[in-house]
């Protein structure tokens, strides 16, 4: 895969050793954890929940673009960390992210050839599902956040292509899947 991508470019270095397998495997984990933590450290005291869930977007991108980068069970521990920093009740991301992984596996069995648009569609569905159910879990029904929730879903869906470029770049640097 790496040969096809970079052989014709000027910075093709055929003898450059790839990352050691341990580090190559840790990179996807690190990037998802980093995205989750980034949501928590941005120095803004927001009065509206408009920030896209960066950890979730990163996780979905890794799952859809580089299937074997994360184990099938990786969603639960990564979700646990996201719950610890995101303010949602502990366990909501563990549950919702795991359900997303299982659902993507089921979709993958039926839709074997996918292109980017279908990936984007699947990710949009997963993001909308996680945010909507997360709102239902965390907040009383009477809270006035539904318009903002729609805006948040839109922003998050629009962020997926950007995240896809980032993940593709990391994946290329990482070398072939081990």
């Amino acid at each position: 895969m790496i040969d096809r991508v970079t052989r014709n470019t000027i910075d093709y270095r055929p003898f450059e050793p790839p990352l050691p397998p341990g580090r190559a495997r840790a990179l996807p984990w690190g990037s998802v954890l980093g995205a989750s933590a980034l949501t928590a450290v941005i120095p803004v005291v927001a009065s509206l929940p408009l920030m896209p869930p960066l950890g979730l977007i990163m996780l979905l991108t890794w799952r859809l673009l580089a299937r074997f980068a994360l184990r099938p069970w990786a969603a639960a521990p990564l979700g646990l960390f996201d719950d610890l920093v995101s303010g949602q009740p502990l366990g909501s991301a563990v549950l919702l992210w795991s359900i997303c992984f299982i659902a993507i596996d089921l979709i993958e069995q039926r839709l074997v050839f996918r292109d980017f648009w279908q990936d984007w569609l699947i990710a949009s569905g997963a993001i909308a599902f996680c945010l909507a159910i997360g709102r239902w879990i965390a907040l009383p029904i009477g809270a006035h956040v539904d318009t903002v929730l729609l805006a948040q879903i839109m922003v998050s869906v629009m962020l997926f292509p950007l995240s896809a470029r980032l993940v593709a770049w990391i994946d290329r640097k990482r070398g072939p899947a081990q």
Binding site: V41, V45, P72, G134, L139, P140, H144
Partner: protein, 292 residues
């Protein structure tokens, strides 16, 4: 994208088992998540030690970013102030002239107040500040409105302490870690603050809406009219918040339940003041000695 071939595990027992185990673990993860969710729904403070442990790592980073952002933003602000300094000077002089008379009246009233209170022998408690700290972050991706305070148990911040800014009430401390605390803002959908109207002392409840504003609901009367611009301050009921801290101002006139805008903008705050609970719960009585 080409289909994933990895699903075919071949004849290797090891690969077959590890693939199967991966899926078992994935489903187990979802089940564990459901259990954790039930536990934290029925007992919200259950995992606060874990949460605040992580917050103690993220808070220093958030504080650093906050300082950097502040420094960057102060440059345009300083330039703007420099250009406006003459106009501002004139405005301030005019305002001093306008308010001098009111200040004199206020001093007299304050003196009278003190004297009369002393005559009545009212026991007044003044809220004691614990620490001034910064709100450095928040849960911007979740619907809950929590802010991160960069002071914790080492600075004597404890759960239940009210947090206020110079212009009004910010919220109260929910969980504390060693150097970080999580503040429940008044705009959180699960926050309730007992308030009264400044005009006539009518009691009401300020309940967060989740969209940066609060709902003011009347408590013990029906068909209460709220006028636009009515101001509400904490009433001191419940003993948590000191009475007289500004909370919110009514946005539009209405009856029984209206939308109000909080006075304190947590994001514009330089420093938040953490105070002791106004009337802390009395210590539990000593166990009664066993009857002889």
């Amino acid at each position: 994208m080409a289909p994933a071939r990895d699903r075919r595990t071949g004849f290797s027992r090891r690969r077959q088992y590890s693939t199967f185990l991966g899926y078992v673990l994935a489903v187990a993860g979802a089940v564990v998540g459901a259990v954790l969710l039930v536990v934290s729904t029925f007992n919200p403070p259950a995992f606060s030690a874990l949460r605040m442990g992580v917050a103690s790592l993220t808070t220093p980073v958030a504080t650093g970013l906050d300082v950097v952002t502040d420094a960057v933003l102060s440059v345009p602000r300083a330039i703007g102030t420099w250009f406006r300094v003459h106009g501002e000077n004139a405005d301030l002089r005019a305002e001093v002239k306008r308010t001098r008379a009111i200040l004199t009246t206020a001093r007299t009233v304050a003196y009278d107040n003190r004297r009369l209170r002393a005559l009545l022998a009212v026991r007044e408690r003044t809220p004691e500040p614990v620490v001034t700290a910064r709100l450095v972050g928040s849960t911007a991706s979740s619907g809950r409105r929590f802010a991160l305070l960069n002071a914790g148990r080492l600075q004597d911040v404890l759960p239940g302490m009210p947090v206020r800014g110079p212009s009004g009430l910010v919220g109260r401390v929910l969980e504390t870690g060693p150097i970080a605390a999580r503040v429940l803002l008044v705009t959180d959908p699960e926050s309730l603050v007992p308030v009264r109207r400044t005009r006539d002392g009518m009691p009401a409840i300020a309940a967060g809406r989740g969209d940066g504003r609060v709902d003011i609901r009347s408590v013990n009367a029906t068909n209460v009219r709220f006028a636009k611009g009515d101001m509400f301050v904490t009433s001191g009921t419940g003993g948590l918040y000191a009475p007289g801290v500004p909370v919110a101002q009514v946005e539009r006139a209405g009856a029984d339940s209206v939308v109000a805008i909080p006075f304190a903008a947590p994001d514009a705050l330089d420093f938040a003041l953490v105070e002791r609970p106004f009337m802390p719960l009395p210590p539990s009585p000593p166990p009664r000695p066993a009857a002889p």
